[in-house]
């Protein structure tokens, strides 16, 4: 098990390294530097600014400085929000995104598994078809369509939830963004669970458990579901990545002051350091989450551990 963990850690390092390096070179080589966006500056001021931001040193030195800074979570100053460093901006907005993302992922997993099990137990019946059709709709329709439509129906027409903004962070404010974020992943988890549950229900050990006369609920939850959850665990990592990607859009639509929205405003305003800082953060997050899920998977399925 330890060797497995070490091997996975080792393979994550080059990926993070590539992302960080890519971000550095993209910032340096982007057309239009950080300082002459609005008007051209006189050469002395340019020289002073370059020296202040250490942009006049040789590229190798800058690169090493950048790596050192990133290790200390310092992504440099924001080019647009002049008084803030990127770390401060991300630090401010991260709690909002984390709250949204965690709730969305929780709802997606729990809801998806519940729907999948319900559909599997009533396989090929009307409930099954209905649930799977809704799941297909949730899969196909992109979240930037679902978000505004949900907002239109539940906020504008019915006034059941608020149309945007963080407000006090209460359920009325957050329910629409969380649902919009969770819906596609819920659909995928539902389909996955249904498929593997149908197979698990036919397994020998489930038949044995039934033959022992165990109550159906125990058979389903303890014996069948445990095996059926493997694909769900595998999909957790891509689901987290998808929730992160989706949060970019959802936070923009519902005006939640999270990391995703900073990413979008940074992108639209050519704030290179903010954009790259966000990308590095998200890449590292995805890689770490992948690692955790791989370990979880190895813990759940002993066959994986010894390959």
């Amino acid at each position: 098990m330890l060797r497995f963990v070490l091997r996975r850690l080792l393979s994550a390092v080059p990926t993070i390294f590539i992302v960080v390096s890519l971000s550095f070179f993209l910032i340096r080589f982007a057309p239009g530097g950080p300082f002459n966006v609005e008007r051209a500056l006189p050469p002395q001021i340019m020289a002073n600014l370059m020296r202040a931001y250490r942009l006049d040193q040789p590229l190798a030195t800058q690169y090493l400085n950048y790596l050192w800074n990133v290790l200390h979570l310092d992504f440099g100053p924001s080019y647009i929000y002049r008084d803030f460093s990127v770390t401060e901006l991300i630090g401010q907005s991260l709690p909002y995104s984390l709250t949204l993302g965690t709730f969305a992922l929780l709802i997606a997993v729990v809801g998806g598994v519940a729907v999948g099990v319900a559909a599997a137990l009533r396989q090929n019946g009307p409930v099954d078809y209905a649930l799977m059709s809704v799941a297909t709709v949730g899969l196909t329709v992109p979240n930037f369509v679902v978000g505004p439509v949900l907002s239109l129906i539940f906020a504008v027409m019915l006034h059941w939830a608020s149309a945007g903004g963080w407000g006090q962070g209460g359920p009325r404010d957050l329910v629409l963004p969380i649902i919009a974020l969770a819906l596609p992943q819920l659909a995928i988890f539902a389909r996955l669970t249904r498929g593997s549950m149908i197979e698990a229900l036919r397994a020998d050990h489930v038949r044995t458990a039934r033959a022992y006369g165990l109550p159906p609920r125990i058979v389903i939850v303890v014996h069948a579901l445990r095996g059926a959850l493997l694909p769900v665990v595998t999909y957790l990592a891509p689901a987290a990545a998808a929730v992160l990607t989706g949060s970019v859009v959802i936070e923009t639509i519902f005006s939640i002051p999270g990391v995703g929205r900073y990413f979008v405003t940074g992108a639209l305003n050519r704030d290179y350091t903010l954009v790259m800082g966000t990308v590095v953060l998200i890449a590292v997050f995805i890689i770490v989450f992948n690692l955790i899920v791989d370990l979880l998977y190895a813990a759940v399925d002993p066959r994986v551990r010894y390959d």
């Binding site: 590539i18 297909t136 505004p148 504008v156 859009v249």
Partner: protein, 374 residues
Amino acid sequence: MTDAAPAIRAPIAGRSLTHLAFDRLIRNRASLASIVVLLAISALYIFGPAVAPHSYDQVFESYVRTPPSLDPYPRADTLKQVMTDVALHARVTLQDFTVDGQTFRATFTSPTPIDPRVTRYVDRTDEFDASRVTGAAADGLSIAVEGVVHREYFPMGTDGNGRDLFSRIMIGGRISLTVGILATLVSLVIGVAYGAVSGFVGGPTDNVLMRIVEILYSLPFVFLVIVLVVFFGRNFILIFVAIGAIEWLDMARIVRGQTLSLKRREFVAAAEAMGLDTWSLIRRHIIPNTIGPVIVFVTILVPRVILLESFLSFLGLGVQEPLTSLGALIAEGASNMQAAPWLLIFPSIFFVTTLFALNFLGDGLRDAFDPRDR
């Protein structure tokens, strides 16, 4: 003795695998419906803008954010107000105004003699056209003008700039489909070449190439595309090259898998024995035989690419104005949701229908080519 010669039977036409797959595809009703819908929508996107009465960037200043309607605009009750405004611009007074079917008659008066070119003010509006002076008083203090009420149909309403939504949806669909197909082609070319070479050459080269794919797989590519578009501007070509450069990874994996199983077949060994070099082997024997799964993957890829392009357009990083794509239209609709919900509803319907049709077609193709996968 019978003199009936044995009837010569016509040779029985063989049925190739593709033919069988096609039959299975047609028999699947969801796929058939999807094909029909896709053909209809594609025809609309391709030929629609040419036959539409309005161009997608034609601005109607009088018809900003008008709701969708099958009745023609302008509405009869607004005409008098419009004519009064015209008189105001022309610094004359509207004396008399009647509308009779498609023609209108108006009389203007003024304390000073009226220049007959005042009809230009009338023509400048979207509501009236072809106005001409039909009579003038002897002292020139009053003239009668006659003309035509110019009808426009906006079956899906107009947007915030007074542009017809239907025309914009057709252009948007065309752009979305174009980017979808072009980006998929880019993915196809890169992925097939990469996968075929990696699978055929094998050995340590294959290991290295697949490790690269694995590393690239774990990067949040969507964000990198956004970064590319931000840094290097919103170039139409850059967009679909960038999108194509994300999606080739899966294609490479699929082609590599196919190549690995193909390269042990006898015809490959025979070709090699005849002295064909590696690249020609890949090009003439391996790649043509991977077409089956590749086609299935292409139908899965196109909706994914369209989604990605719409995602970019939604964030404001897609094609430049006045060109639009379905994603940009949906974004505009989302921001105008309360005042003009039709701006969100119609593009969403077209977008979702296209995506659904493509997805069902992909499912059907997958079932048709590989029936045991049901």
